[in-house]
């Protein structure tokens, strides 16, 4: 109640004299708004969110009406309360203008809260942000430095570009003042102005003249920050400020050599903040400049050797020193010193220090490889650290350090790590191991063993594209075939849950099953296994719930291949015919085709299923294919004889999605095709299209096997699509016709699945110049699935002299209206052309 009288008193004084009765009435209407701390206390008693919300709403209403009544006395208190509620997450925009009023007030309390409110509620995205400008301008020239300080702080934290433009002059003025309290703030304010309006940087140049002669550490620190900002943004500034190197070196030296200074001391080190900033500025000045680098050489060595390392603060300085040494043109002795510091960091008990050491070493491992190698064992020890970030860094660094000399030892450690690490690391680690093994394997046997180890311990995390790579590797290690298949077979007996392992194993057993049963292994004790046992295992894979459809495809094909290697042909025939009625479309296709091989093409069977030749390695991610490329990869020139064998993961499909811009369309989904059999399915399907229709025209003969093929070509079968118009009851359509490029779609129903429409595109060119590097891409809505097979070529000859054909298969289980977005890219008369189009005129028979 004592506050009452004070309030009454001040109100009376501020209102006109002679209106006392009205004053009293006003007071009776309007109780004082509760104090800030009172409100906080009250809100904290709320037991539920709902209760809190109710209190807040009530108070907000009171505050709003208080604002409406233009109450000057309590505006500050009300805004403060509003800011508290804002921090709790409640809206406070109705207080924005009130903040402006507070800033304009002459009371220091008002300004303090007003500027705080502005910084919290009035950022540059708000409409009323600019209204602050004038107030800030006035306050920058206020007679009280603390008011000027408030203005500088606000401007320097959140001033918009326009505000900065308007007030840069004031800031520049204050940068030249002798008042260090203001000068230091002006320097940081200038940094903000430069960040927002880089063109204004020049105007601050004169004021920087004697910034470094200041004794005041606050000014020194902020000046160094300002100089750093300017040097980073402008090469001219950088050259201009290079002359400051001696002065900076001197200041740093004083800091190190000077005795205990209580004001700036942190655990025995004098002003570590300033030291770190100077070191950072020196880094920028010394970078790519020999003279500057030389001038700072001594001081860097001094800091590196003399800084106390028992506490974080000393290590912070050492860390910055190391970064500087590594970045400038330092002599080799200094660099070795730096790396050794990092090596010592690795042994530090403090995990933060270990973390920054690993991060820094990762940065320098390319340039200072040998020096980092010396710390290899410590780095490898970090693989066992408990901290996830440290483990990851250590893993990356370990892989970077693997070379021909240390491969055996390193691999042991890395494989051990792979065994025990968290799932989030396994995929990366496995890939890293494969890469390292490929590069540095000391022997083929070692290589195979390493792969086996990865597949058996982290088999489910191995990336999809590893499977074809591994298969290729195995194929090429001819003398290890028996050993490999034996080991893989044994692994299968233990565990059939890890799909990549199972897939590679199936493939190998299919290829080298004969070696397996004949017990030819040299590398280790050959196992005794019968043909039936092998077939049992493979059939087990087909039946197991653990096997994915892709795996099943592998095992079925493997079983088929064994028909030319084993004598139990009848058993194999039986299996194949059983799966001829599998509900899995892929398996069914294969089984039917293999059946056909037995029945009608038995004379070709041995040739088709014979041993794979040694494969040439193409790109490291498997053969690329024009059909499904993301925007970035170079499409390889497709060979017409090669079937689509894209092994690109789903994320590339999403890139296509982005290219076509739609998010209701599903990207072209390639069947995961690391397996040759999968593509065989595609081609054989067409082959069978002829066969299963009784009385159809004689199918074209299967063309002979091209000798050198990229990996994963189906056992010798050519990919020449044998497309006939047998079911051509669906009329063809023109999908695209522009600029001389015409694309026609012809249709066929895929047998036996009527939900699949098979479309052949025919691209022709009426202009006088060829269209080269032609790429056709397509995407369909979500309910569809689309498969794009390889095109016949990538050149559309001029003047209709030929065409490109390409097959699209569309799965439309919901029988929805077919729509497609296509993207065409090609080069015409030397210029790249790109076009997007919607294709909506599909004849109803194609999707009904």
């Amino acid at each position: 109640m004592t506050s009452w009288s004070a309030v009454v008193g001040s109100q009376c004084l501020s209102l006109h004299q002679g209106h006392l009765p009205t004053c009293l009435c006003v007071f009776q209407r309007m109780p004082a708004p509760i104090r800030l701390r009172e409100l906080i206390r009250t809100i904290r008693t709320a037991r539920t969110q709902a209760e809190e919300r109710e209190m807040i709403q009530k108070e907000c209403a009171a505050i709003r009406s208080s604002f409406r009544e233009e109450d000057n006395t309590y505006r500050c208190r009300n805004v403060a309360k509003l800011l508290y509620m804002h921090m709790l997450g409640y809206p406070a925009h109705f207080g924005q203008l009130e903040c402006l009023k507070l800033i304009a007030s002459q009371k220091f309390t008002d300004k303090r809260i007003g500027y705080l409110g502005a910084m919290l509620l009035l950022d540059e995205r708000q409409d009323v942000h600019l209204l602050m400008t004038n107030c800030i301008k006035n306050d920058l020239n206020h007679s009280t430095q603390y008011v000027q300080g408030l203005a500088l702080c606000t401007l320097g934290c959140m001033g918009s570009s326009e505000m900065c433009r308007d007030l840069a002059g004031e800031v520049e003025k204050l940068l030249k003042t002798s008042n260090s309290y203001l000068r230091k703030k002006a320097a940081l304010c200038a940094v903000h102005v430069i960040r927002k309006v880089p063109e204004l940087m020049e105007m601050f140049l004169p004021a920087t003249k004697n910034l470094l002669s200041e004794k005041n550490h606050g000014v020194l620190h902020t000046s160094v920050v300002l100089l750093t900002e300017m040097c980073e943004r402008s090469p001219d500034m950088l050259s201009h400020f290079r002359k400051l190197v001696p002065q900076l070196v001197r200041i740093l030296k004083n800091l190190i050599m000077s005795g205990y200074s209580p004001e700036h001391d942190v655990s025995g080190i004098s002003d570590p903040f300033l030291q770190v900033r100077i070191l950072r500025l020196l880094r920028i000045l010394g970078r790519s400049d020999d003279d500057s680098s030389e001038a700072m050489n001594d001081i860097l060595a001094q800091v590196a050797t003399n800084t106390e390392t028992s506490k974080n603060v000393g290590n912070a300085i050492l860390y910055e020193t190391v970064l500087t040494i590594m970045d400038i043109k330092s002599e080799s002795g200094l660099r070795v010193l730096a790396i050794n510091i990092l090596g010592r960091f690795l042994l530090n008990n403090d995990k933060n220090i270990r973390y920054v050491a690993l991060t820094s070493l990762l940065k320098t491992v390319q340039t200072d490889h040998n020096a980092v190698q010396r710390h290899r064992s410590t780095i490898v020890d970090c693989l066992k650290d408990l901290d996830v970030s440290i483990k990851r860094r250590a893993m990356e660094l370990s892989f970077a350090l693997v070379n021909g000399n240390n491969i055996r030892g390193m691999m042991k450690e890395l494989l051990y790590f792979l065994d025990s690490c968290d799932p989030e690391f396994k995929a990366d680690c496995a890939s890293g191991v494969f890469l390292a093994a490929e590069k540095y394997a000391p022997s083929k046997r070692w290589h195979i063993d390493t792969i086996m180890r990865v597949l058996t311990t982290a088999g489910s995390y191995v990336r999809d594209d590893s499977v074809p790579n591994l298969i290729q590797l195995i194929t090429n290690s001819v003398e290890m075939h028996a050993y490999t298949v034996q080991r893989l077979y044994k692994a299968l007996l233990d565990d059939i849950s890890q799909q990549p392992l199972v897939q590679v194993s199936s493939w190998c057993i299919g290829e080298y099953g004969d070696l397996l049963v004949s017990g030819q292994c040299e590398e280790e004790e050959p196992i005794q296994v019968t043909e039936d046992e092998v077939l049992d295992v493979l059939e087990g894979l087909l039946l197991s719930n653990l096997s994915t459809p892709v795996t099943r495809g592998y095992s079925l094909t493997a079983i088929m291949k064994l028909s030319t290697r084993f004598s139990s042909v009848n058993r194999i025939k039986k299996v194949v015919s059983v799966y001829g009625s599998s509900i899995d479309v892929e398996l069914q296709q294969r089984a039917v085709e293999y059946n056909a091989l037995f029945k009608k093409y038995d004379h070709m069977r041995p040739a088709l299923l014979e041993r794979m030749p040694i494969m040439e390695k193409t790109a490291s991610n498997g053969p690329t294919e024009i059909v499904q490329t993301n925007g970035e990869t170079e499409p390889s020139v497709p060979d017409t004889k090669h079937p689509p064998l894209v092994t690109q993961p789903a994320n590339q499909a999403n890139d296509l999605l982005d290219l076509l811009g739609g998010n209701d369309v599903v990207p072209v989904i390639q069947t995961t095709l690391p397996t040759k059999p999968a593509s065989a399915g595609g081609e054989l399907l067409d082959l069978l299209g002829d066969l299963s229709l009784s009385g159809g025209p004689a199918p074209a003969p299967v063309p002979s096997v091209p000798v050198s093929q990229p990996p994963f070509l189906l056992d010798g079968l050519s990919s020449q699509p044998l497309f006939t118009d047998i079911a051509a009851v669906i009329p063809p359509m023109t999908a695209y016709n522009k600029n001389g490029l015409k694309i026609e779609f012809t249709f066929e129903r895929a047998n036996p699945n009527p939900n699949i429409a098979v479309i052949t595109i025919h691209a022709t060119n009426t202009t006088e110049a060829d269209m080269t590097e032609f790429v056709f891409q397509a995407a369909v809505p979500k309910t569809f699935q689309l498969q794009l097979l390889s095109p016949s070529s990538n050149i559309v000859p001029a003047l209709n002299q030929g065409s490109i054909t390409q097959i699209i298969r569309v799965l439309n289980p919901q029988k929805q209206q077919l729509r497609m977005r296509v993207k065409l890219t090609y080069t015409h008369k030397g210029l790249p052309v790109q076009d997007l189009a919607e294709v909506n005129n599909f004849p109803p028979q194609s999707w009904q």
Partner: protein, 155 residues
């Protein structure tokens, strides 16, 4: 520094200082996600984590987490020192500061922060000077107000 957040072990925000403009919605999202991430960290883990494209430095003092998001070229270890310095300033000002002090006097916590950092960088490396400035400003607050109460400005 891009921003600094102070929050309790229950994830309640006690202070937020943004040095880079963000939409309100975005601020809330960032806060929510980062608080979750930091609170999920085990005590044995290091004080640094990579989050989005920023480096986050955090340290727990009693029941409060101090969390800073810094840029790639900033020194993580010195940021820990910055955080520590701020805590020391609060401690000196409030006398053995605890979370309740920050809750009930949040505006003071902001004033102190704004006297120590400006635009995300340290403006004063002397503890004494920062505290002196705050002290003077507090005095100014009382004096000027007092003066106005007794001696109103001529109308």
């Amino acid at each position: 520094m891009q921003f600094m957040l102070l929050f309790s072990r229950q994830g309640k925000l006690r202070l937020q200082k943004w040095y880079v403009p963000q939409a309100d919605k975005e601020k809330k999202k960032i806060t929510r996600e980062l608080v979750q991430t930091v609170l999920a960290r085990k005590p044995k883990m290091c004080s640094f984590l990579e989050w989005r494209d920023l480096k986050v430095v955090y340290k727990r003092y009693a029941s409060l987490y101090f969390c800073c998001a810094i840029e790639d070229q900033d020194n993580e270890l010195i940021t820990l020192e910055i955080i520590h310095r701020y805590v020391e300033l609060l401690d000196k000002y409030f006398g053995s500061v605890c979370e309740l002090d920050i809750i009930f006097n949040f505006e003071k916590a902001y004033f102190i922060l704004d006297e120590f950092l400006l635009g995300g960088e340290a403006q004063e490396t002397s503890k004494k000077n920062v505290l002196k400035a705050i002290e003077q400003a507090d005095l100014l607050q009382e004096n000027l107000d007092f003066q106005i109460r007794l001696f109103p400005a001529p109308s």
